[in-house]
């Protein structure tokens, strides 16, 4: 990985902060009743997806879980249309039919947004199969929550990916809890990155609160996969500040645990480094903060001013 320049730092900081501000605003709109159903926030985990973003080719494919808002922002998708989807409006990425958990953008190679734990893993493996079948040099980044690492289809997909040497990078976002059950209480032998060993898939663990470590690992793993060596697993140790979803009070963990993680906040790490390297001063940062706050506020306004889908849309998009 070449040294990260000023532009790269600004990119990292901007995307991470944009995700955080977006999620905070989504929480507010949820509380006001504008967003319904399940809504899973990404606050605390920003370094994972933005770290991987720094190593990505735009023709690479991405598929992820239902905790997908941050993934879409990192994919360069428009926060206005993401928020419109969250609020169930016709301008949303899924025209108001998918909601928070089921968002897609085919033109940006973003294949969801999947609501069933583990289901995205064979799907991402199949997208990688297509890259190989079409002799493309691209890879599919398939994100997996720690909870899904106990789901059978994940291992079926690992086996197929290794057997057929598919260009798929599996990224386990280990945020310590599958809903309210800690990894230790759910996974026998909780070193999740080692779970590919039986299939001959190399894996490694990385500190997901530190974006620089994520970038280093994702870059190395991405190259390995792109060179045709088959799949690779990285387990990113991260933490969500909020509950599993908006309706989760997160009583299964202590305030001290949360506080400890907040002290190593991934956005603060980037900010400090940026100041230290003199890529930005406090004033520059304040300006960025203000711009992002405005952009997200505009996204919320846009969403709330967007129309609900027409009644006739109920029966469209069932068949093509």
């Amino acid at each position: 990985m070449k040294n990260l320049d000023k532009k790269a730092y600004l990119k990292m900081y901007t995307y991470m902060l944009k995700i955080r501000r977006f999620e905070e605003r989504a929480a507010q709109l949820y509380g006001m009743g504008h967003i319904g159903g399940f809504c899973h926030l990404y606050i605390g985990q920003e370094a994972v997806v933005v770290g991987v973003l720094m190593t990505i080719d735009k023709n690479d494919s991405v598929v992820t879980t239902y905790r997908d808002h941050g993934h879409m922002i990192a994919r360069g998708l428009d926060p206005k249309r993401i928020m419109a989807e969250l609020t169930g409006r016709e301008d949303g990425y899924s025209a108001g039919k998918g909601g928070s958990m089921h968002m897609f953008s085919k033109e940006n190679n973003f294949y969801g947004g999947h609501g069933i734990v583990g289901a995205q893993v064979p799907i991402g493996t199949g997208i990688a199969f297509t890259h190989k079948y079409n002799d493309e040099k691209n890879i599919c980044r398939t994100y997996i929550g720690d909870g899904a690492m106990n789901n059978g289809q994940v291992f079926e997909a690992f086996n197929l990916a290794s057997l057929w040497k598919l260009p798929v990078l599996y990224i386990i976002e280990n945020n310590k809890y599958g809903m309210g059950t800690s990894v230790d209480r759910a996974a026998a032998g909780s070193e999740l990155y080692k779970r590919g060993e039986a299939f001959g898939i190399p894996g490694e663990k990385v500190d997901g609160m530190n974006i620089f470590k994520v970038i280093e690992s994702a870059d190395k793993a991405g190259k390995y996969v792109r060179e045709g060596n088959g799949p690779y697993i990285i387990e990113v140790q991260t933490y969500r500040y909020r509950g599993h979803s908006m309706s989760d009070p997160a009583k299964y963990r202590t305030k001290e645990e949360l506080q400890n993680y907040k002290e190593t906040d991934p956005i603060e790490i980037v900010k400090k480094e940026m100041l230290k390297k003199k890529f930005a001063n406090e004033k520059d940062i304040e300006k960025i903060n203000k711009e992002i706050l405005d952009e997200i506020k505009n996204a919320a306004d846009y969403a709330l001013n967007s129309q609900y889908p027409k009644d006739s849309e109920l029966y469209t998009d069932v068949y093509i």
Binding site: I116, A119, P122, F129, Q153, N159, L160, T316, Y319
Partner: protein, 450 residues
């Protein structure tokens, strides 16, 4: 004393076999366990071992003889002192009749009455499995995005030989043997379809699709809708559905109504080589996920096909298999053949003209053809292999009572399998499945014939 060696049944649905090679000659001494012949079944070519010992007195078939019925005598062993018995012939050596074999023989394809004259030039007789295979091959030649995956589809040539020869022509990139991981490889195929490929996924039987049903429904059927029309899933899930022969509860289940329940899926169930070909081509060309429910017992069924490489039968269109004015039977798949047999007997015994509608597609359902028929006959019987609760017939009955209530002269009767898991024993299996007599009884009942 002589010992007769019979044509063995080497698979649950085998009714006849081909003698590809003798591994013994007249006069040879054979010991138990010696290989004696190679037999080609409906699924594979297998070696047959001797169970008894003796001198080969006679071989009653030549290498290359085909369609030798199960339980026919194929060779005779004897003691050294015995001479070859000249009177052994294939004609008088029929052994005890096998009920299972007879039952399978009941299913014969009849000439398609609805085949138009223009089609006649393109007609050829093929088995169902050949018709399916040829259609896949033709489309694969046309579109490099089509590939086939499933258990034993490549090197083994297909568990039921439907994919026979395809590996040779298309290679291992496009004909892929999978591990026994239905959930995983189904999800993989769906991901490939999202990304623009056109997979044909073979379930060795649809019973195993239960392992993958989350991916089929939650991913394949719903993603077009959930993505606001962005991501479609052009995939065909195909394989045998329903009962085979004595494979019992976990391997004999009809999934027609399970899949027909779900918006986003199209569901097809062919009954003859003719409609299998036209419908499978439509399924492969369709841009939606299609469930294509074949029937193992029908794989060997031979009949005319239309060989035009552009021939399709539209999805969502039923076929009026035979016209009649007195009672309508709505059916599909293997039950078409039992319904036809029942209709013939009903004509002979009660002089009733039964109209038979072969649904061909279960979703979307051709309600117009059904309703028009009921308006003409005023009586309806549905015949299918699935369990009775919430079956395709249940939905047909619902639609007809709503759309043609005033035309009905009798309550609608559904003929289904027994509402129990499939039993193993041959006698119970027969009782479980709808039989010709059950159909006749239902037709009499809606006609108020005692």
């Amino acid at each position: 004393m002589t010992i007769e060696i019979l044509m063995p049944a080497l698979s649950p649905t085998m009714t006849e076999g081909n003698l590809t090679k003798w591994l013994i000659q007249k006069g040879d001494t054979v010991k138990a366990g010696d290989l004696i012949a190679e037999i080609e079944t409906d699924k594979a070519t297998m070696e047959v071992e001797a169970v008894d010992e003796g001198i080969v007195l006679d071989l009653l078939y030549n290498e290359g003889d085909s369609n030798i019925p199960v339980n026919k005598v194929i060779a005779v062993l004897g003691d050294k002192s015995e001479k070859v018995e000249k009177e052994h012939s294939t004609n008088n050596m029929e052994s005890d009749s096998n009920e299972k074999t007879d039952e399978k023989k009941e299913i014969k394809v009849q000439d398609k009455k609805n085949t138009s004259v223009e089609d006649a030039n393109n007609e050829e007789h093929l088995t169902m499995r050949e018709a399916l295979r040829d259609t896949m091959a033709e489309e694969m030649r046309r579109d490099s995005k089509i590939f086939i995956l499933g258990e034993e589809v490549a090197e083994y040539q297909g568990a039921y030989k439907v994919t026979q020869g395809l590996l040779d022509e298309f290679g291992s990139k496009r004909i892929l043997d999978t591990p026994i991981s239905e959930h995983g490889f189904t999800g993989l195929a769906i991901g490939a379809a999202f990304k623009g490929l056109r997979p044909i996924l073979e379930f060795m039987t649809f019973n195993f699709s239960m392992q993958a049903i989350d991916q089929i429904i939650n991913s394949a059927a719903k993603t077009l809708y959930m993505s606001g029309g962005q991501i479609n899933c052009p995939i065909v899930f195909r394989g045998p559905n329903g009962a085979a022969a004595q494979v019992a509860a976990q391997h004999s289940q009809d999934f027609s109504s399970w899949y027909s329940h779900c918006p986003g899926l199209k569901v097809i169930s062919p009954s003859t080589p003719y409609n299998a070909k036209g419908l499978l081509r439509s399924a492969i060309l369709d841009n939606n996920p299609v469930i294509f429910l074949e029937n193992e017992i029908l794989y060997g069924l031979k009949g005319p096909v239309n060989n035009d490489k552009n021939f399709t039968i539209p999805i969502g269109k039923a076929n009026i298999e035979q016209q009649g004015k007195d009672v309508t039977i709505v059916t599909y798949s293997i039950m078409l053949h039992k319904s036809k047999e029942a209709a013939k007997k009903i004509k002979d015994e009660y002089n009733l003209d039964v109209e038979i509608i072969d649904l061909q597609t279960l979703r979307p359902l051709d309600t117009e053809t059904i309703i028009n028929s009921v308006k003409k006959t005023n009586r309806l019987v549905t015949v299918e292999e699935s369990w009775p609760f919430g079956s395709v017939g249940s939905e047909v009955a619902n639609i007809v009572q709503r759309e043609a209530f005033d035309y009905l002269d009798a309550p609608i009767i559904k003929v289904n399998s027994a509402d129990v898991p499939m039993p193993y024993s041959l006698s119970l299996e027969k009782l479980y499945l709808p039989q010709v007599e059950d159909i006749i009884k239902a037709v009499k009942e809606v006609s108020y014939i005692k």
